[in-house]
Symmetry: D2
Subunit: 179 residues, 4 copies
Amino acid sequence: MSADITQPQGGWLSPDQMQGARDQVPLVYLDAIPVRVDEAGVLRQVGLLLRATQDGMLTRTLVSGRVHKGERIRDALLRHLEKDLGPMALPRVPVSPQPFTVVEYFPDPGVTGFYDSRHQAVSLAFIVPVFGDCEPTQSALELAWLDPTEAISPDVLVEMVGGRDRLLRMALAHAGVLP
Amino acid sequence: MSADITQPQGGWLSPDQMQGARDQVPLVYLDAIPVRVDEAGVLRQVGLLLRATQDGMLTRTLVSGRVHKGERIRDALLRHLEKDLGPMALPRVPVSPQPFTVVEYFPDPGVTGFYDSRHQAVSLAFIVPVFGDCEPTQSALELAWLDPTEAISPDVLVEMVGGRDRLLRMALAHAGVLP
Amino acid sequence: MSADITQPQGGWLSPDQMQGARDQVPLVYLDAIPVRVDEAGVLRQVGLLLRATQDGMLTRTLVSGRVHKGERIRDALLRHLEKDLGPMALPRVPVSPQPFTVVEYFPDPGVTGFYDSRHQAVSLAFIVPVFGDCEPTQSALELAWLDPTEAISPDVLVEMVGGRDRLLRMALAHAGVLP
Amino acid sequence: MSADITQPQGGWLSPDQMQGARDQVPLVYLDAIPVRVDEAGVLRQVGLLLRATQDGMLTRTLVSGRVHKGERIRDALLRHLEKDLGPMALPRVPVSPQPFTVVEYFPDPGVTGFYDSRHQAVSLAFIVPVFGDCEPTQSALELAWLDPTEAISPDVLVEMVGGRDRLLRMALAHAGVLP
């Protein structure tokens, strides 16, 4: 069991390679729900990213992405958390490899209620407490920290797509703080 | 959320297609540990399959296999259980999509201790009680039901490959019956 | 590890003894959410008990009760399930001792949102598929099987007390079917 | 849901009161497995306390203790961790109330294999990463940090009593690092 970070050298794929893989098999994905906790470990706030879609719509989303070939799940979690929350977020990846749930995204919304127009993905979902300073990077416009009641208000949930509003409520339920 | 069994029409791949996918991405896999339980739900026996490898070695293994494109995890579980235990096994797939652990198989045994020479796979592991008659099919020579103490005896564990001896002990630990 | 059902001989307490214990320590409780599943293990319906409170109000509730001295958790689960659903319910108690959540009931609703005016209780919560015929016994007037969408409708949730509406939604979330 | 630490004012019991409660009901207990993790969250070391029993025998044990009346589980966890590891240990209590397992201690070792000569206890078990400086307090003579292979060596396991050697291996299994 290596202590080194796994090297996803073969991870980055050209659009053609990506399409080839999508055509053959479900992809391994991750969803991370960034949270702030208090001293006793109680979930106090959830971090939601505000993002503009290609057609200009604003959506709220969670940290999410693909596991590359050659990469361990933990290292993929850290990579996506750093990509979306910046290098100073100090996330604490859970000690157990057991996700709190597994989400199955299909191009057809009717199969599970979770969907992704691009491909089928099997996503391991983790709640990840962060202790440092977050600054949204890349395509995210803003990171908003909301308490559980704010997070599940109808005007927030309506801005989440692909079923992530349900995933958010599942995470709050697992943490024992679903209002 | 469809009640119908998902159709993995695009699931079967030619050897070339399979190799193509393996070269690009980790595969989504399942491990199922078939068990017998008593009336109170206590795990009493574990079902291990005896199989001959291509070079004639006998190995003991668990129910394991790939999730096809277009297929739900639950349906893949049922398909692999039926393939290995026969159509009358009456398996009870767990109500929650949360696996008891996630195993990362790499071609290099040094990364996680779990390995598969063919490819990288991310495997969701479930304990599945079976209530009917099992008859090993396909490549399995025999299905042996062992109580937890027999199952972790050195001469049984030594016949398991790829780290599945560890997975078996992890399953017994999760069920509260690791001796 | 005994295969016999544990004997809660010292389990039944007089009102004075019960009050004495309540004054000193939190009590060990169980909550069981009875469910119907389909062949693939998907939760299709939740069983809610209709009960009249002492002041004549109708409430909907889950299977719930105390673990007796000398009794194993699994045996307490079976005892309460049989008491509330009848002897032909054929419940399948989970193979793992890990509850899907732990609920802390306090006499003060402000501590956790879960409350019981009589005492503090730490309750292990399990989802329990039942496969037989249920007939509510004892104080329950009716057992209603509701699909997830019906179960979380406002007019059902409002009839649940002590925070059990939240527990019900937490169970649906864990099962991956929270609407 | 109060942010304040719950006040276990009624928590401390006289020996007579304690005996009275023990005679009537199972007690609510906690087991915490203190661990060191690396940046990716992988469990690297387990903290075992060395303690002298009343008859002078040396035993290795985990952080363990009772939940007081009026006390939340999280606050009891923090209290026992501080009592055993000192005030600078900086433990990170998990965000979910779901324990990784539940252990049932009986005065009779034959019931579950977990035993406590004093009483029956239902113990919620959590893996707790600690990030600060630990100094064993009270009755503990020493705190030893062992990697998973050292921790399950026969000469360490033989020094653990009441079934805690099994609990330790169950924790390592849940964390994915059982050798």
